[in-house]
Subunit: 343 residues, 2 copies
């Protein structure tokens, strides 16, 4: 191990947010990297993924995964190169997908690593279109959404890695695809580059009316990844036998209190009954982990043939991770947010 | 046609209820039966089915079926005998399942009839365990609920035709079955006769606590047919990957206003996501109409072998239909409510 690899930089989770996270919830530290034991590898983070689900991990409450630990490096998916190895399966320079979190270096016994091969044109895509977000888009749409020719599909965060993939796959299935995005530039991109039929700006004062106008035949599939006012505008438009895969609710992740009444729960349950709606939450690797190879073999040719567009929002420097994360939660990213970590 | 068959008695829908229906929403009339045309049959109602869904049909709002018409006989499924026939396919005396509603006689062109054969031991069962309620129980549980050995299944209205069937089928699939019913007698019946593992009285002041105690391993399937406070008590107990088939919400059918806040919608959607819950409404004949033969061939042997218990609550006399209907909505029935209509 060369000298410069004895020091690690990491963002620890310093405190749990109440409401919107702030930079003060994270603490940047320098740490000594321990000596490798036999069977271990030292990973150098090349790309760190920033994803909305991380907001939930910062909380201590009910979730599908244990909360991130205080005073430990913040959790997150990474694309790494092996910087040093005492593990028989890994050589220095190997590219791997890891879960090493918001830090420059990490030690792993290999059990949490996936080899990426060493000839990837875009290693960071393993965090996006070929990784968790793409897999989420694909399985939720195909398995729960079950798109059919001529149906209307609505997806929010339309230029994000999940929304953009959902919409483009929906177009391939013959759906009318209506996106929801924040701002004119993103909406134009969804239509002109991603090929959506329409895209409605959720900043617009008449958002619900514009969504209804764009969905004149109602909505057959609502791929739910934001919740909040988009859900409220979508729900009355859902058709009989509509499907609502729920993969995220980013608009509510930082909400501390429930909104004022009345309690719409009975109305929503009644609509689910009368319109025979299927609402189903899923967590991609828990529900569909065994189908990752199926996803990859479907998605890879679509990317190679340029039938799917994929956009990244790359930010240089690990020191910028907290602000980039906060910005992403507020929709200031344009595409999949990744932090590029210099050597 | 003999002389006494020239006069029909019928309950018309006189007005739409606001809140709980009353007897004043119905009007009993005597009508002249028109002469049969070629291709028509005269049906004599032998059994009229009373079902919770009828409450929804009395309203004018959104529903899965057009509202019952004012000043027309109230809608409903019936088991009839053919009283006279000018239709080549039907003979006087034939037993049929019809949709002739709350009346003594009705004329049909045969398009809405299902022949029941003339050697049925219990013709009225075509309105219950072998008809819509049994089919609803079977498909909702098997297709959406997907019961597995060792799982906990909760069903309300446990001694009603849907709940009793769901629970008994769940036992056959190896589930721990917990019923919810109104009163000690019904709870005892659910355990002692239907074989449920437990049954909680929803009249009890500590209902939610008792349900939680009876479901110490959480709830994997909640077969939703009542809504309201049962839903509220069940929801926090739902396990990861729980399934909630929604076939009815009888507790809310007569509610005029939404309950006070806060609005729990974001909390419920968050739980659906984090616990990966599937909530799915269904309307039996719209969703599964083509699978009725499959249901019959599964259910008939279970009944013949007495593996499924079925209980009817038979009330004599068409004149008693409105009160019996109101009583059923308030849980005063014990088993499937049918009106026996004398000749």
């Amino acid at each position: 191990m060369s000298k410069q690899q004895t020091q690690n930089h990491a963002w620890l989770l310093a405190s749990r947010p109440t409401g919107e996270p702030t930079k003060e919830n994270f603490r940047f530290v320098e740490q000594v990297i321990p000596e490798l034991n036999e069977g271990e590898v030292l990973l150098r983070t090349v790309y760190l993924s920033l994803d909305p689900y991380m907001r939930g991990r910062m909380d201590d409450g009910e979730s599908y995964a244990p909360p991130a630990e205080l005073d430990k490096p913040m959790v997150g998916g990474t694309v790494c190169q092996v910087a040093a190895s005492k593990h028989a399966d890994y050589q220095q320079g190997d590219w791997v997908l890891g879960q090493s979190g918001w830090q420059q270096y990490a030690v792993s016994d290999g059990s949490d690593l996936v080899k990426l091969g060493n000839d990837l044109p875009h290693p960071s895509w393993a965090l996006g279109i070929l990784g968790m977000p793409g897999f989420t888009a694909y399985m939720g749409l195909m398995n729960i959404g079950q798109p059919k020719e001529g149906e209307t599909l609505v997806v929010a965060a339309a230029t994000g890695p999940v929304g953009a993939t959902v919409g483009q796959l929906g177009k391939m299935k013959g759906c009318r695809v209506v996106g929801v995005a924040g701002g004119e530039e993103k909406c134009r991109y969804a239509i002109e580059t991603l090929g959506f039929d329409a895209c409605v700006d959720h900043h617009s004062s008449d958002f619900a009316g514009q969504l209804a106008a764009a969905c004149s035949a109602g909505i057959d599939i609502y791929y739910e990844n934001v919740g909040g006012k988009v859900f409220d505008a979508v729900f009355p438009l859902l058709n009989t036998a509509a499907r609502v895969p729920v993969c995220g609710l980013v608009s509510g992740y930082s909400s501390r209190d429930l909104p004022d009444g009345p309690d719409r729960t009975p109305m929503i349950m009644a609509a689910i009954l009368k319109r025979r709606i299927r609402v189903q939450g899923f967590i991609i690797f828990q529900d569909y982990g065994d189908r990752y190879p199926e996803f990859l073999s479907a998605m890879k040719p679509l990317i190679e043939d340029k039938k799917i567009h994929y956009r990244e929002h790359v930010i240089e420097g690990l020191e910028n991770a907290p602000q980039a994360f906060i910005d992403m939660l507020n929709g200031k990213n344009f595409g999949k947010t990744v932090i590029k970590v210099p050597e």
